[in-house]
């Protein structure tokens, strides 16, 4: 029961976090939810859109909203502006000679932080992009013979400009696969935009005096809780079907991998939590599939990009909606091992 109270508290906290961020990032609730989903799923998020749509502010605000272990300020937030001449060392740090100790000591780069904003990631060369691979996937950095673990809470928010813009290096598929979720930020609607212009001072103020609504501990707890979210067998089947359909679809050249499937499941669980539930439903599937899978697929043409995944998802949702309630689920006996 204690855990239940905790989880209810945590679920409430998530809503608080979302609300808090929304005081700065107006009209972007869905995007905020996706960001938190990626955070809870222990993944990373890639945001793509034109400059000036609030990507950076979003990352900053998130970092400020989470209290660090001391509880006095936000968690350790680092921002790297990716440029074509950026080198891997600029990210992970380097050995420098310590005059006093007469030895080389490792000077940690900006990767050693809790929330990392990798701004305009596709402006850097593939070499730098690859440097991110290990740390994002394995939460550690190997420098020479020594392996340095990253912070327990390590969350990367990467932004990129649309690939069509000049001076960009498209991210390799392997790199893209590391990002759990890719979202398009987009512009807000006209009313919200008006609202933002009217109240830009207030927003600035909010940004400067951000409240820390969640502690890092709570975030870590939620990350653990995410793993325990109940996921119905049929939803798992649906995930399997969707992933397999992307491989069989005639308009998709490269389908989703098995790793994508696992990430998909993680994200589903996290998304359920973000929506205040401890079980995954069709809505979660509907809400997150595109964000999770779209950037992993290579389409035959532009038209396919818009249609293929929607039809696959539509087919699966149709199947699910026609399923009967399985009787043993309605008996409400919580399966052992969960919660």
């Amino acid at each position: 029961m204690e855990e239940n109270i905790q989880i209810d508290q945590a679920l409430a906290n998530i809503q608080k976090l979302v609300d808090n961020i929304e005081t700065v990032i107006r009209g972007k609730r869905t995007q905020i939810q996706f960001v938190i989903t990626a955070l809870l799923a222990k993944g990373h998020i890639l945001m793509e859109d034109n400059p000036g749509t609030g990507k950076t502010v979003m990352a900053k605000t998130l970092a400020k909203s989470i209290a660090d272990s001391t509880g006095s300020s936000g968690v350790n937030f680092k921002r790297i502006q990716f440029t074509p001449d950026l080198l891997p060392m600029d990210l992970i740090g380097s050995h420098i000679f310590d005059d006093v100790k007469k030895e080389f000591v490792f000077k940690k780069g900006p990767l050693f932080c809790n929330v990392l904003l990798a701004d305009e990631i596709n402006r850097a060369s593939p070499k730098v992009q690859s440097a991110l691979l290990e740390c994002m996937a394995e939460h550690q950095i190997t420098m020479g013979e020594t392996t340095y673990p990253l912070e327990k809470l390590f969350f990367t928010i990467a932004t990129q400009n649309p690939v069509e813009m000049e001076g960009t290096y498209p991210l390799p598929a392997a790199q893209l696969d590391r990002f759990f979720i890719k979202i398009y930020f987009g512009y807000v609607d006209e009313l919200t935009e008006l609202d933002i212009y009217k109240d830009y001072l207030g927003i600035q103020n909010n940004q400067d005096h951000m409240k820390q609504v969640l502690s890092m501990k709570e975030i870590l707890f939620l990350q653990e809780e995410t793993e325990k979210v109940f996921i119905h067998e049929e939803i798992i089947t649906a995930v399997r079907n969707i992933v397999r359909d992307t491989r069989n679809h005639p308009d998709i050249v490269l389908g989703a991998s098995i790793r994508s499937g696992i990430i998909f499941l993680k994200c589903l669980k996290a998304f359920a939590l973000v929506n205040g539930r401890t079980f995954v439903t069709e809505d979660d599937l509907r809400g997150i599939t595109t964000a999770v899978l779209d950037h992993r697929l290579i389409y035959r043409n532009r038209e396919a990009k818009q249609k293929a995944l929607t039809t696959i998802l539509g087919k699966e949702l149709d199947r699910l909606s026609k399923l009967k309630i399985t009787i043993n689920r309605t008996s409400f006996a919580p399966p052992a091992g969960n919660i």
């Binding site: 079980f279 809400g287 409400f332």
Partner: protein, 872 residues
């Protein structure tokens, strides 16, 4: 290069099995059908069908890969064309070149057609519709080329194509909508296919039973006559119509057609007890079947009229009268209006080819008694009857022709002319009678006939003289000494189609057969105010002096002549047909007359109670009996056991076996046994007491089977039905009604489904929530609020925004029940169980009735609801 697939191998296989195979079967059938009509195909349907099938299968397989149609098909078509062109240059002989190129043309055409069809099935959605319409069109063309349209031709042509059309459209649509990745794809497929087949069969059965009568009627109307005559619309017509069994009756011999064909078949033999005053010289009489009293000016034909005044036609059906029992009608005598110089004459008629139900007798017949045919001639004559008639002394087959020097006949003719000459003016029994029998059409044509009649009879005053003048006119010679009128079976058709045939005959052509002479005479007489009518039957020729009183009747003796009414003497026969030179030169040989029938002691009539085929005995219940020529009848039937071991059993169709008799059949048993000769009946004896006297079993020599009463009525009704013309209006209305019902049913489908779903949702079951959810979704979908690819919450929010309802909470609770491992709270349970009806009500109140009705007629929404989405 790796070519991607359009369909999975499974789907391709399904297409091959379920679309291509039936299509090629259909095409095989079509080609087989076409081969019968088109010479160019050279009866080679198997290989032609194979060309098509090869094209179809190759193309179906080929296009299940992502090949481009235009390029690939162009290559195929061009190579086919090149092959066809090249054949001309490579073949050796000219004939070979032509032959091969034709073969290759057919091959190229069919192969290309198959290729196109394969592409259509594989890729194009609406191809099946176009394809079926094309097949139907081909069948329409083929049927329109068919000379003899019978119902089975139409059924054979359209039924398979129609069934195929339904099948192929349904099946291709189903394959298109099926999700082949479904693990139980094959199960679903066979389930749907089975369901479809059952519905199709039921529908066809339903339609067939409903239209069975119409089908049969159509067949009779279109196919019946030509099938039986086998001659179709030839320009000749038989005087004697043969019915289905080869029996002859002269139903309609006065139709004025172009030509007449006759044959030498023996129709019947008659013994006529009519002699001149010397009681030695036989006096033959014409045998009448019926009278034509009315002339239809529109169709130029004579009509029988059952409403004729003073109807003296006695028309029994001898096949339905029990053996030796008599049916008589004395009103015939009364209506014959004859009192002077009359006597009753008997005639025995033995039927050979004459239909068993025909009754022929010299006028005026009034009695009919079927008798047995002697054993020795049973194979020759099928049945016999004895007729009695009220015959005038003055009547004779020798009434017109010159008696060729026979003193006695000359004297007789003179005598009778004398007698008839006494009548100076003919007056009928009433006005109606006279105006009916002297009716003339008013046309210009008939005025010509009238003026001719006046001219011809200018010198005569008494009616009989006028008749003789007309006869003489027909027998007169022209200025070259040639007969003015000639007999011809083939008088030819007048040049102008609408010209009155009789005027043409009388004034121009002057050639014709009996009907022409009779018709012309009739109008000439009527124009002179002499009541007359046409009699149809057989002319009697006294050919032999070997058997006086016996006459043989052949098919070519079917005849038509005129009867004239003389007050007091009644209707007298007058034949004005000029002699046919050909027939008289080749008289037919007459056979031996049938032996006279032995004395009957007992004739018992009744139904069979039981039959013992081993002992050859029959137990029958007797209601009527003739014993030693005396009639007995009883209301309560008495049982009689008869011994049939020596008996001949006959029906109208000929001899039958004992085993073919059934319980309940109506039979007449006749005995000539000497055993019964001395068992005499007293005056006081009744039927029952006589039967008691009879030996058990009673020996019987003759058993005649009549139809059972019940069967008879049924058959009569059936006949009536058969003769009824098809009521096209009714048929069309019925077809439209069915169409309407089907249409209404189609439009009612959404409502029916909704009622079903609603009922399930309201019901109580473990799956109540599920049914509620599904029903709500269906209801909303039908009203036009499609879920599309929205998630449940998204959809519920949309619905709530529209209807201000709380579908949202229901949907959430439902999702929780479905996917969560948590127990539902009480409020959630309540929402799941209770909110359905109020929600539906809320939606209903917010949508006007008109909109709801129109939305619920939209079948498309329902189809959409049940269609499984596909990924490609």
């Amino acid at each position: 290069m790796k070519i991607g697939r359009t369909h999975s191998a499974k789907k391709m296989l399904a297409q091959l099995m379920l679309l291509a195979v039936p299509t090629s079967l259909m095409v095989f059938y079509l080609l087989w059908d076409l081969n019968r009509f088109y010479v160019i195909l050279e009866n080679n349907w198997i290989s032609q069908g194979t060309y098509f099938t090869i094209g179809l299968f190759l193309s179906t397989i080929f296009y299940s890969y992502r090949f481009r149609f235009i390029t690939s098909a162009t290559i195929i078509f061009i190579s086919c064309y090149a092959l066809y062109k090249a054949a001309g240059t490579f073949a050796f002989g000219e004939f070979d070149a032509f032959y091969f190129s034709v073969q290759l043309l057919i091959f190229g055409f069919l192969f290309s057609a198959g290729w196109l069809a394969g592409f259509g099935f594989s890729r194009t959605r609406f191809f099946t519709v176009i394809w079926s319409v094309m097949l139907l069109f081909i069948q329409i063309v083929v049927v329109s080329k068919t000379a003899d349209i019978k119902v089975n031709v139409i059924i054979n042509a359209f039924l398979p194509v129609l069934a195929y059309t339904f099948y192929i459209i349904y099946m291709s649509e189903m394959l298109r909508n099926m999700n082949e990745d479904e693990p139980n794809f094959i199960f679903f497929l066979s389930k749907r296919l089975g369901g479809f087949t059952i519905i199709m069969l039921l529908l066809l059965l339903f339609i067939f039973t409903l239209f069975k009568n119409d089908f049969q009627a159509v067949e009779r109307e279109w196919g019946g006559s030509s099938a039986m005559n086998g001659k179709g619309n030839e320009k000749s017509e038989n005087m004697n119509k043969k019915d289905g069994k080869g029996n002859v009756s002269n139903k309609d011999q006065t139709k004025l057609t172009g030509s007449l064909s006759k044959d030498k078949q023996l129709v019947f033999v008659a013994k006529l007890d009519n002699y001149f005053d010397d009681n030695v010289t036989p006096n033959p009489l014409y045998f009448t079947a019926f009278y034509y009293t009315k002339f239809d000016t529109l169709t130029q034909t004579f009509e029988r009229d059952s409403m004729m005044p003073r109807n003296d036609l006695f028309l029994p059906d001898p096949s339905k009268i029990p053996l030796y029992f008599t049916v008589a009608d004395s009103s015939a005598i009364k209506n014959s209006l004859a009192t002077k110089n009359r006597k009753v004459v008997t005639a025995d008629i033995y039927k050979a080819a004459l239909s068993p139900d025909a009754y022929l007798a010299p006028s005026t017949g009034f009695s009919c008694q079927p008798v047995t045919v002697p054993k020795e001639v049973k194979d020759q004559y099928k049945s016999a009857y004895r007729a009695k008639m009220w015959v005038s002394d003055l009547n004779s087959a020798y009434f017109i022709y010159n008696p060729a020097g026979n003193q006695q006949l000359e004297a007789f003719q003179q005598l009778r002319f004398e007698k008839l000459r006494e009548i100076q003016k003919i007056t009928g029994p009433d006005k109606n009678f006279m105006s009916y029998y002297t009716f003339m059409p008013k046309d210009e044509e008939y005025k010509k006939i009238a003026s001719l009649a006046k001219e011809v009879t200018a010198d005569a005053s008494a009616p009989i003289d006028k008749i003789l003048a007309i006869r003489d006119y027909f027998l007169s010679k022209d200025e070259f000494g040639q007969p003015l009128f000639k007999y011809s079976d083939n008088p030819g058709i007048p040049g102008i189609p609408s010209a009155n045939k009789l005027t043409y005959f009388l004034l121009e052509n002057r050639k014709g057969y009996c009907a022409y002479y009779a018709g012309a005479t009739l109008f000439m007489l009527r124009s002179l105010g002499i009541p007359s009518r046409i009699a149809a039957g057989y002319l009697t020729v006294d050919r032999s002096s070997k058997n006086p009183g016996w006459y043989w009747f052949y098919a070519d003796q079917a005849h038509a002549w005129v009867q004239v009414y003389f007050p007091g003497y009644g209707w007298m026969d007058f034949d004005t047909t000029v002699p046919d030179v050909n027939t008289q030169q080749s008289p037919q040989p007459d056979g031996t007359p049938p032996m006279t029938v032995p004395q009957t002691y007992i004739v018992a009539d009744g139904n069979i109670i039981s039959i013992d085929t081993i002992k050859k005995q029959i137990n029958m219940e007797v209601k009527k009996m003739i014993y030693h020529d005396k009639d007995y009848e009883t209301a309560s039937a008495k049982d009689l056991n008869i011994d049939v071991s020596l008996a001949t059993i006959t029906a109208d169709t000929g001899e039958v076996r004992l085993s073919s008799l059934k319980k309940g059949m109506h039979i007449t048993a006749v005995s000539y046994s000497e055993e019964l000769k001395n068992i005499l009946a007293d005056k006081s004896d009744s039927l029952a007491s006589i039967i008691k006297k009879l030996p058990i079993p009673t020996p019987v020599d003759e058993v005649k089977v009549l139809l059972i009463e019940g069967l008879k009525i049924n058959k009569k009704q059936e006949e009536q039905k058969a003769n009824e013309p098809i009521d096209w209006e009714k048929t069309i209305i019925r077809a439209l009604l069915i169409l309407l019902i089907l249409l209404i049913l189609l439009f009612l489908i959404p409502s029916i489904i909704w009622q079903y779903m609603n009922a399930r949702a309201k019901g109580k079951s473990d799956l109540k929530a599920y049914h509620c959810y599904r029903a709500s979704l269906y209801y909303l979908n039908q009203l036009g609020y499609e879920r599309g690819d929205m998630g449940p919450l998204e959809y519920a929010n949309m619905i709530d925004a529209r209807f201000k309802s709380s579908f949202n909470s229901f949907s959430n609770a439902y999702q929780k029940a479905k996917y969560s491992n948590l127990p539902l709270s009480d409020s959630e349970k309540e929402i799941l169980n209770e909110s359905y009806q109020s929600f539906i009500k809320k939606v209903r109140t917010q949508i006007p009735l008109k909109t709801r009705i129109s939305k619920f007629l939209n079948v498309y929404n329902t189809i959409h609801y049940f269609t499984q989405p596909k990924i490609s």
